[in-house]
């Protein structure tokens, strides 16, 4: 097996008295879609926040291309090639679509910081990139606060993709989307995967979505890994059981029908 691009070893994260992650291992390979699944509160968001430099782990090591790495800020993670679309979208409501899109990575001429921004070019790129995954915004200078939840999600995804990271982390990217846009995102994930040089981490509660795109699974429950493996190694029913944190899905559906 090839060297994983990012490898987490024995990650522990405590918030005060509360242990959110209790020794988690994770390998992320380029050209694969890695589905991170688990119940509410299992620690998925916490895990990827550790991976993208938002939280420092209490214990454990992050390896990037085999080298132990410490992220002191999200910026460090970005530089290391880890791009993230957060569940609580990293979007600024008062700013325009374009300014959001290029936030922190503006196109400019002149010195960094004091360089003059190329607004026209940026407007065009933002519009085009969002159109590519299926949302046509009429005016890229419109404030993002006036857009719907799904439109914002699309912006965040388009942005992460445009600034093409080596690892693209998507925390429940489809949960607020309409079906058409859901498919659009899945399509984009597959497109990214096809390039072969990018690893995608995909968090979702939707079983169908994960089966449509994922190559590899990791299941979390109560801060621990309760199962992992490649798609072809796992049985369908096993996946369903693990996604529900170990409960029998079939029983639940039956119960529902009985009411």
């Amino acid at each position: 097996m090839a060297e994983p691009y990012v490898r987490l070893e024995n990650i522990v994260k405590r918030f005060g008295p509360f242990t959110a992650l209790n020794g988690v291992n994770l390998d992320v390979h380029s050209g694969e879609v890695h589905a991170l699944l688990g119940d509410n509160g299992a620690g998925k968001s916490t895990l990827i926040k550790v991976m993208s430099g938002v939280h420092a782990p209490s214990e454990g090591t992050i390896y990037v291309e085999g080298k132990p790495t410490v992220f002191n800020s999200p910026r460090d993670a970005t530089v290391a090639g880890i791009g993230t679309v957060y569940q609580d979208l990293a979007i600024n409501p008062l700013m325009s679509v374009t300014r959001n899109f290029f936030m922190g990575r503006e196109l400019y001429k002149g010195p960094r910081g004091l360089g003059i921004m190329k607004m026209g070019e940026m407007n065009e790129i933002a519009h085009d990139e969002m159109l590519k995954i299926g949302i046509d915004i009429s005016d890229p200078t419109q404030a993002v606060g006036t857009m719907s939840g799904g439109q914002r999600q699309t912006l965040a995804i388009a942005r992460a993709i445009h600034f093409g990271a080596k690892v693209l982390i998507l925390d429940e990217p489809t949960s607020a989307l309409g079906q058409k846009q859901q498919m659009g995102v899945l399509k984009t994930i597959k497109k990214v995967r096809k390039r072969g040089d990018i690893a995608v981490i995909f968090i979702t509660h939707n079983e169908i979505h994960s089966q449509l795109v994922a190559d590899r699974y990791t299941f979390l429950a109560l801060g621990q890994v309760i199962g992992a493996g490649k798609k072809d190694e796992l049985e369908h029913n096993e996946i369903r059981r693990l996604m529900a944190g170990g409960a029998e899905m079939r029983d639940l559906e039956q119960e529902l029908a009985d009411i």
Binding site: T84, N92, G104, G113, M117, G145
Partner: protein, 370 residues
Amino acid sequence: MSDRNESDRLQQESTFQRLIRRPEAGSFAVMVVVLVLIAFASNGNAMNALGIKNNLSIISQFGIIATGAALLMIAGEFDLSIGSMIGFAGMSMAMMLKWGLPFGLGEATPFSAFFITLAMTLSLGWLIGTIVVRSGLSSFIVSLGFLFGLRGVTEVTFRLINQSTQISGLQDFKETSFFARLFGGESFGWFYDLAFALGFNLNRRGEQWVTGLDARVVWWMLVVLIAYIILSRTQIGNWIYATGDNKESARANGVPVNRVKVGLFMTTALCATIFAACQVFDTNTADAAKGNLKELEAIAIAVVGGILMTGGFGSVIGVAFGAVTFGLVANAVFYIPWIDGSFYRVFVGAVLLAAVFANERIRKRITGGI
């Protein structure tokens, strides 16, 4: 039905509609109203040769610190230490000019006094900013601590070294030092000379009346111009907006949020130092009360100029209009003989509220009511 398009839901707007939706529209309207009212009520006195000079002098003072405060507010932070910083800077410069450089380094020149002071105030700005970003505490409360602390230090230094809360009777450095003239001298003299040649600008004795505007007018225009370009055109400008709007998301996208904030705290300190230098080199005095309450006035002007208290929104040009409004109100009532001077605080309060309402309407239109 499904062939309706997203853009069908957005009405087309006329140029005028676009104009009154600019962030500066509210502060501009308020400024025009105040200008016209005062010009009438003062029988034109507020707008004669001397009136213009004096009003602009106050307006630029306000404008300089309000611009700094406004940038910081757009980034979502406050600085309540501006007034005390002005007092500290004024004290520091005057003290060096009178008692020489610290550590027995000999006589001070305006140049050395200014730059040593600037080094100190910038360090203080850096310190406030660093405490704010490191601790995650509200800047309101951190800078409130410095409001008390810095004023105290200024007072203690005056008392212990100078034995008096005031320094006066310094030599007039403007006569000998070009650098002192930069801050305390005059500007736009040609304008008043021209007006005199044309038969205006005569005083009661029939001589040429005013010889020029205060140098601080030029400083104000410089500060506004630079701030305008930075905020609306450069990358840092985008970072400032991003930081104030949603700090976490800005950080997650690689905006150096902390450095932006610390930089802006240093900018308000810089503005306070320019303010103090203009006064010190103009009057050759300094006292412990210098800058008192200026922090609240700077914030008030920024808000009159359309800056949003919660950050992420506002324009430098609007703040310039706000400074004009506020400067006129603070100064021009004294041109109106039939109004008791003590009414001026009442007016300040009223204009503040009126402007803030006007701005809010505009902002709601722009951002769709968030």
